[in-house]
Amino acid sequence: MTVNFNGVIRIMGILLLVLGACLIPSLLVAFIYAETLSIKAFLFTILPCIVIGAVLKKVFRPSLIKLKARDGFLIVSLSWLVASIIGALPFVISGAIPNYIDAFFETCSGFSTTGSSILTDVESLPKSMLFWRSFTHWLGGMGIIVFAMALLPSIGVGGQIIASAETPGPTLSKITPRFADTARNLYLVYILFTVIETILLLFGGMNLFDSLIHTFGSVGTGGFSSYADSVAHFSSPYIQWVIIIFMTMCGINFNLYFILARKGIKAMLKDSELRLYLLIIFSVTALISINLMTAGGYDSISQGIRDSAFQVTSMITTTGYATADYELWPTFSKMLIFILLLTGACSSSTGGGVKVIRILIALKLVRRGVSLKLHPNRIASVTLGGKGVPQEVSTNIANFIFLYIFVFFVGGFIISFNGYDIVTSFSAVLTCLGNTGPGFNLVGPVLNFSIFSGFSKLVLSFLMIAGRLELFTFFMLFSRHYWNSNKA
């Protein structure tokens, strides 16, 4: 009983088809702006994708053996790798990012919705390239597989199994019986948000191109901008608040929007994760605002609150946009931002990081542990919203946090060989693992990742994908137990 390779390759074929289709909007943009190099690059990528994809889909018939969870992990990991590898090609072929490793980094950063960039001069890129870069955010935000699932339910019963390997966070409840329906619903909400934000940004005075780019970056919680100074380029408070609101909304568990639609806002606000998420946002915003006003050299309250709120929501939702260079802020604010890098957004959202629900349950576990020290014979269980949390889930969460810490340290060690200071190395790793984008010191919000060696960029790229896939899905492939189940 090993991995179902036929099934895996077939799905790869379908993925290639989907990828090819996704490149078409960027091709259109290239036509609009008459960028011939880009047109060629896209065509050279789209055509082989569609051809090979169609061939694979035909040749590898849907097998009678059902896809299992084990296959799901391989499919998801492979899909993301393949998507990033192929997605980098347009950049290289058109000469926008000539070095392939750089292009791969940028594409991984796009699909994983990280938003870290190796570009030193963003604005010199052709518009269609910038569009493709941000479109990968949009695709990656909700999940490539989920996208495929919504479009092509013919993938079949394995859908739920595969997608659960991709969905961020522990899922404690199901919304619809068929996963394909869930996927479709999720994408509807997602598309709705995209359209609304684009329109709102247009009202703010942005041109259509910029609106789309920044919408993709905010609903996908990615962080790529068409300008070198990120959202600071737009000094209009209206625009900044719109982006703040949409970043926050897309950091919320999307399933809650269905609860909102069916049962109203009170039911939605009962969710413990949402409450902790909002609590963190409000309290940290307040703390940073106060700190900025007293020690940070800010004069106007409204700007202090606005900059604080923007950075807080940007970091907690792992978007990574910036309206101010927080490197200049007092250490207290910087430390709080550092914490937000760790926390992450809610589960089943487009955000990354450790996820608020895991932090919540971990805190409850700790509290229970302390109480057990005092009352060793007590029977206490961890509850969430009135329901008990199964032992399995608690254990998985603890394991996840431990693995996260481990990967963080090992990654930091590897990146430190570049010779940059500890804060730079470790914050680079943390921000890629959590899919946020900016770090501290040499990878601060106004700087970029071009300073790292090619090897480090590769490592960081893998960390981005590993983080997006919540570590286990990715690292499992390195275990010998995975490839040969007879070896227990």
């Binding site: 084990r70 020690a295 007092p330 250490t331 207290f332 910087k334 430390m335 709080l336 550092f338 914490i339 760790l342 971990a362 805190l363 576990l365 700790v366 229970r368 542990g369 302390v370 109480s371 057990l372 020290k373 005092l374 009352h375 060793p376 007590r378 254990t395 998985n396 603890a398 394991n399 996840f400 946090i401 431990f402 693995l403 810490i405 481990f406 340290f409 930091g412 060690f413 430190s416 060989f417 010779g419 940059y420 200071d421 500890i422 804060v423 190395s425 470790f426 501290f440 010191n441 286990f472 690292f475 499992m476 275990s479 137990h481 995975y482 189940s485 227990a488």
Partner: protein, 486 residues
């Protein structure tokens, strides 16, 4: 149900008695060095302590010794607080104009074997330096008392050494009473101290330096660096002694039992010892290689010597520096940082997470990956062939998470001091892991850069790290103070 007051007061009185007696030694030293103000400070405090201790002991002679969990935590906490506060008196009264906060910091740093400083070492009277070293030494012994005698009582009733905190080799057949265990530990500790002193005396450093550094290194506090003499410019022999005895102080004292009882097999098989030594060896070699290739060292042996000394210093949570670690390549600094997190072995004078917990941590991760692949498999974690019970694994998991949560929260609080990121992050870790030395502005263990708030909070952190956090945290829980309320 209230606290067993008699027991608490009696314990405090015994502890104060010992502390008072301990103060007589620096008093003699002060007289010898003609530091009169300091001498009278010690005299005054010592008399008070001894008087209090003796009279109270007489009053509370007859009281039950049954100790419950609640009293245990409270006793541990209150004893340490009182010991530290009384220990500030000599600094405060010595007439050198030291502030209260500074004195508290020095005292806590001493007793928690951290080895951090806020007062200027070079102008401190010799008697106070001696007192700090004594605090270090007694603090190290205090840890042994805590982990060998008190924690098992708090964690699990009975003789099991595999307590809720630190799973370790079992002692059932070895010694019959807890008291015996403790006595043997102290004997070994004292023996090691005497041995180190004998080895240091003929090495060319002054007898006073030898004495205070012996006391500080065997308790894994650090090295007392007068004018940067000892650590930077001492001979390889001296550095080697410091290194070896730091390792000795940071190994699980259970191992010494086994040696004492002749059970060599158990020593060799002890997974914590092996892992710890492996970590030290690999780190030393790794750092040495990186240093050599970075060009700052001429020969690989020089690099290896410095690397090993520095590795042991950080791995045992002693925290002395033999060179300017700020100038080291950041990959070496990262290794040192990791060593700070891992810490020493359980049941030793070292601090931080402890190697045995890190071992369990890794096994938990690997089991996590395995269980994702085989969700219904039954796979316990094995240490030396015996399974770790779910309760223990759970307890260790909670400890590790609490450790990181505490650390992160403390970083935020310390960031109010507005030092740069690396200083804040490494400084918080340094005091929490009882190491003492950080990076950035704290590479020389000089904490005077912090304001009073920072110093007070650092003191709390040192204590929290030393007491393994629980003793502090349970005090914040409502059910601790009122047993009717769970």
């Amino acid at each position: 149900m209230t606290f067993n007051h008699r027991l608490i007061v009696r314990t405090i009185s015994i502890v104060l008695l010992f502390e008072g007696i301990a103060m007589l030694f620096p008093m003699v030293c002060a007289v010898y060095y003609k530091e009169n103000n300091t001498a009278s400070a010690f005299f005054f405090t010592a008399i008070c302590c001894i008087a209090f201790g003796m009279t109270v002991r007489r009053f509370f002679r007859y009281s039950t010794l049954k100790i419950k969990t609640r009293e245990g935590y409270f006793v541990a906490f209150i004893c340490w607080i009182i010991v530290c506060l009384v220990g500030t008196m000599p600094y405060l009264l010595s007439g050198n104009g030291y502030s209260f906060v500074d004195s508290v910091f020095e005292s806590v740093a001493g007793w928690s074997t951290t080895g951090a400083w806020v007062l200027d070492i070079n102008t401190m009277p010799n008697a106070l330096l001696f007192w700090k070293s004594i605090c270090n030494w007694l603090g190290g012994m205090g840890i042994l008392i805590l982990t060998l005698s008190i924690f098992p009582i708090l964690g699990v009733h009975g003789q099991k050494m595999a307590a809720a905190e630190v799973p370790g080799p079992e002692l059932e057949k070895m010694v019959s009473k807890m008291g015996e265990t403790a006595k043997i530990s102290y004997s070994i500790y004292i023996a090691m101290t005497v041995l180190e002193l004998c080895l240091l005396l003929p090495s060319g450093i002054s007898p006073f330096d030898a004495l205070i550094n012996t006391l500080s290194t065997i308790s894994t506090s650090g090295v007392v660096n007068l004018n940067n003499d000892i650590s930077m410019h001492s001979t390889p022999y001296v550095k080697a002694i410091f290194t070896i005895f730091s390792i000795i102080g940071s190994i699980n004292f259970m191992v010494y039992f086994f040696i004492y009882a002749g059970k060599w097999r158990k020593v060799i098989k002890n997974i914590e010892l092996r892992t710890y030594l492996a970590i030290l060896t690999i780190s030393s070699v790794l750092i040495a290689v990186i240093l050599y290739f970075s060009g700052s060292y001429d020969s690989i042996t020089d690099a290896l010597v410095d690397a090993t000394t520095q590795t042991v210093s950080f791995g045992s949570t002693s925290g002395f520096t033999v060179t300017d670690i700020n100038s080291w390549p950041s990959s070496c600094q990262t290794v040192l940082l990791l060593l700070m997190f891992i810490g020493a072995c359980g049941n030793s004078t070292g601090g931080s997470l402890k190697v045995i917990r890190v071992i369990v941590y890794f096994k938990l991760i690997m089991r996590g990956v395995y269980k994702r692949i085989h969700p219904t498999a039954i796979k316990p974690i094995m240490i030396q062939g015996k399974p770790v019970s779910a309760a223990n694994a759970s307890s260790i998991t909670v400890f590790i998470m609490l450790y990181f949560a505490f650390y992160i929260l403390s970083c935020v609080i310390m960031s109010l001091e507005n030092q740069d990121m690396i200083t804040t992050l490494s400084g918080t870790l340094a005091v929490f892991s009882n190491n003492g030395t950080g990076f950035g502005a704290l590479a020389n263990a000089d904490y005077s850069i912090f304001s009073n708030f920072g110093k007070v909070y650092s003191s709390i952190l040192m204590l929290a790290g030393r007491l393994e956090m629980y003793a502090l945290i349970v005090l914040l829980s409502r059910s601790f103070w009122n047993s009717d309320r769970v």
